[in-house]
């Protein structure tokens, strides 16, 4: 009896394994929870993440300039305190190609900016790459200034 049960378990597992193989091979390695776990498989590639910077003065001259991480790390908004998933935000800001009205509104919804009082948040993309001398360079690129009633685009990026 037990041998029959184990044999049935083997057949069931084999069928699920085949379904898994079909699903991951036809869906770029991912069909949750099935996965080939390809994260970190491409080493040394440049990356892109996101940060939100608190802005006191909207007229400051360097507002839209690309910056180093050390120059802004005391003004970074802790997204956790506002219930925002930092990975969601990083993907949203770095993977969006076409910033139409709908996508900008989705960014505002993610921030729930109307509920953040008179906050002025500079939504920024952060890029990193390895140089030929094997050192890591990180740059912070401001994209949008988001306030409770308006979204301003970086004039250097959106002409």
């Amino acid at each position: 009896m037990e041998r029959e049960i184990i044999s049935k378990m083997k057949r069931t597992l084999l069928v699920v394994f085949l379904i898994n193989a079909i699903l991951v091979s036809t869906h770029k390695g991912e069909f949750w929870p099935f996965s080939i776990f390809p994260m970190f498989s491409q080493a040394g590639n440049p990356w892109s993440r996101g940060l939100v910077i608190e802005v006191d003065d909207m007229n400051r001259k360097d507002l839209w300039e690309t910056k180093s991480l050390s120059s802004i790390d005391d003004r970074v908004v802790a997204l956790r305190e506002h219930g925002i998933d930092d990975i969601d935000y990083a993907n949203f800001i770095s993977k969006t190609k076409n910033w139409d009205e709908e996508r900008i509104q989705a960014l505002r919804n993610l921030f729930q900016i109307e509920q953040q009082g008179d906050a002025k948040w500079l939504a920024s993309r952060v890029t990193g790459h390895l140089t030929e001398q094997d050192s890591v360079v990180v740059k912070v690129i401001p994209m949008f200034l988001v306030t409770s009633d308006t979204t301003y685009k970086n004039p250097d990026l959106f002409k």
Binding site: W32, M39, Q42, D88, N109
Partner: protein, 323 residues
């Protein structure tokens, strides 16, 4: 030969470690309890978070065939979380309802692809997904609860081993053996430091990270150990290697946490529960302290039977009242 390999593999995966002992029964129930607990935690976390989403950036899984955008901006995620909770709790307590694990898995998948439609493909919840899927399939195909638990656990062990090993192959195919070069770890550490800064508003490297940043050889050694652990993770399929391999994998996650600030909490807890021989610890404790576990279990069963009788009696009364 292939057939005998699969026979041996299935024996290693599905045969209970110490049959007919209290330790094994509790071990299987711990696995079930872990699955139910984390399913409920994720169901509500995702449910509340999805309320703030309004746009699909990257459709995953079934979302490639069903437009999950219709669930955004509605209370469906909370209703779904409620249904998932109800189904897994019923399946946990009532043997006749164990098939609800299968239904809960389908809803849970839908829940995941709605929540993670924002461009990220996270893997920290895959363990819980596998556990619920294993219990779901086990409950549908095997009548007795103990068999469905046996299948569920073996199923999870199989896909865990497979997942880590395919991860190692992905790295070797996509980058090659130079994947282990320490400067790659520097680049990832910088990337994850930005994530922590974004999440918490502050970041500083710990001492392990400082050593890795100053010493390329150390960083290379770290990546080499990680790759080797992943590569040989399929050894968890075989009982003699299982505990050692699981300890190595838990060590791998500790290493990832200390160098890249990535903590797969549910994954690590799952590895801890599934991978270590708790049945031995429990059996030893019962024998050593002469604990009357059978007495406690029969009392719990009595309570459960009373609850079942009560609910059946009331549902019959409702029907006769309607008639």
């Amino acid at each position: 030969m292939l057939r005998s390999f699969f026979d041996r593999l299935s024996s290693n995966l599905f045969e209970p470690p110490a049959p007919n002992t209290i330790g094994t029964k509790i071990y299987y129930r711990l696995f079930e309890l872990f699955t139910v607990t984390y399913t409920i935690i994720y169901a509500w976390q995702w449910g509340f978070y999805t309320l703030r989403l309004s746009d699909v950036v990257l459709p995953l899984g079934l979302a490639q065939y069903i437009n999950v955008e219709i669930f955004l901006g509605t209370y469906f995620p909370l209703i779904n979380a409620g249904l998932i909770t109800l189904f897994v709790v019923m399946a946990l307590f009532f043997d006749r309802s164990k098939w609800l694990y299968g239904v809960a898995f389908i809803l849970f998948h839908l829940h995941y692809v709605t929540r993670y439609s924002q461009g990220e493909i996270p893997h920290s919840q895959n363990m819980v997904g596998f556990c619920l899927l294993g219990l779901g399939i086990g409950s549908v195909f095997f009548k007795e609860k103990r068999h469905s638990l046996q299948f569920g656990l073996g199923f999870v062990v199989f896909f865990l081993g497979l997942g880590y090993t395919t991860a190692a192959y992905s790295k070797l195919i996509a980058t090659g053996i130079t994947w282990v070069d320490g400067n790659h770890l520097w680049l990832w550490m910088a990337e994850k430091s930005v994530d922590v800064l974004s999440d918490e508003g502050a970041f500083s490297y710990n001492w392990i990270q400082e050593i890795a940043l100053q010493n390329r050889l150390f960083a290379t050694l770290f990546l080499t150990m990680g790759l080797l652990t992943e590569f040989f993770a399929f050894l968890v399929w075989w009982k003699p290697f299982r505990t050692y391999m699981f300890i190595a994998i838990i060590g791998l996650h500790m290493g990832i946490h200390s160098t890249m600030n990535i903590l797969f909490l549910s994954y690590t807890i799952g590895l801890f529960i599934i991978g270590l021989p708790w049945y031995k610890v429990i059996n030893w404790t019962i024998d050593h302290y002469q604990i009357n576990v059978e007495g406690y279990i029969s009392r719990l069963k009595e309570i459960r039977n009373k609850v079942q009788l009560f609910t059946t009696h009331h549902s019959r009364r409702d029907i006769s009242h309607d008639l």
